[in-house]
Amino acid sequence: MTPESRRLDGNAAAGRLSDVFVFDATAARTRCGGCGMTAPLGVYHVYADAPGMVVRCPTCEAMVMRIAQTPGHTWLDMSGVAALDIST
């Protein structure tokens, strides 16, 4: 299998993100810091077979988030996200 064929969609990150956010992050409209396109996080690309989980923009493939779980810690890097729009 190629890495592309193992790629998942953003819903695959829902479980990890629910450790961090009180809302359903996969529904949050997410603006890519690379190209500026906005879409629900659920349609972003997820690479989950690396040591951590990497979320990439479906348009430009820029990395928007990294999530790693280590014993007793959840690590979240959101430096590639320009904004999250959360319906409340």
Partner: protein
């Protein structure tokens, strides 16, 4: 893809309990999982180069052909992934980091390997010299496949395999250690499998 033959590797469980398996690891046998943090970069060899930059007297740049013309070594080593699989007797061919670093003058103590796709990892210079690390372009007698890091990857077999960066394009030398892609996200700064240095604080 040519995997090491079953006869050579033996049964997956054969190495367990022999002292060849670092703590917490299991022998994956013939398997060779592909772990990727993104799409596979596909850089044309005509566009490929390898640079040695940072704290050096003069930066060095090698084209693919110049890299090919450097003396290659055959290496057979065991590799250990932080996701807990180990693979025994992997065979590679590549250029020793000693050969590459001999081309520059430096007083740096660390390097960052950088890669197509944006991946980086940090290493002490003493962990890549003295015959302990290579830039490899062949695996199991064949050209290194893109999914395993081709055209060329770093190979530092004595550390967890995330340090053996795929799609490597160069090293930047520095007096300070700059944590890389996984080292900034909870993984260990050094990554010795025999001391089970998986995570920050281990």
């Amino acid at each position: 893809m040519g995997f090491v033959s079953r006869g050579f590797v033996g049964r997956p469980e054969a190495r367990e309990g022999t002292g060849l398996l670092p703590p917490g690891q299991y022998d994956i046998g013939d398997g060779f999982p592909v772990l990727s943090a993104g799409p596979t970069p596909r850089t044309a060899l005509a566009d490929w180069d390898f640079t040695i930059s940072g704290e050096v007297d003069e930066p060095e740049r090698l084209t693919w052909q110049e890299f090919q013309d450097l003396p290659h070594e055959d290496v057979t080593v065991d590799i250990h992934c932080v996701t807990k699989w180990s693979k025994f007797g992997t065979t590679w061919s590549g250029v020793s980091l000693d050969t590459l670093l001999d081309r520059v003058e430096t007083s740096a103590d660390y390097l960052s390997a950088f890669c197509d796709g944006g991946y980086t990892t940090n290493l002490p210079l003493e962990d890549v010299t003295g015959g302990s690390a290579w830039i490899v372009d062949r695996y199991d007698g064949e050209q290194l496949e893109a999914q395993h890091g081709g055209p060329a990857r770093l190979l530092v077999p004595h550390l967890y395999f995330w340090k053996s960066a795929k799609w490597v394009r160069g090293v930047a030398l520095s007096g300070v250690e700059e944590p890389g892609f996984w080292e900034t996200l909870g993984y260990h700064i050094y990554g010795d499998p025999w001391r089970e240095q998986r995570y920050a604080g281990d």
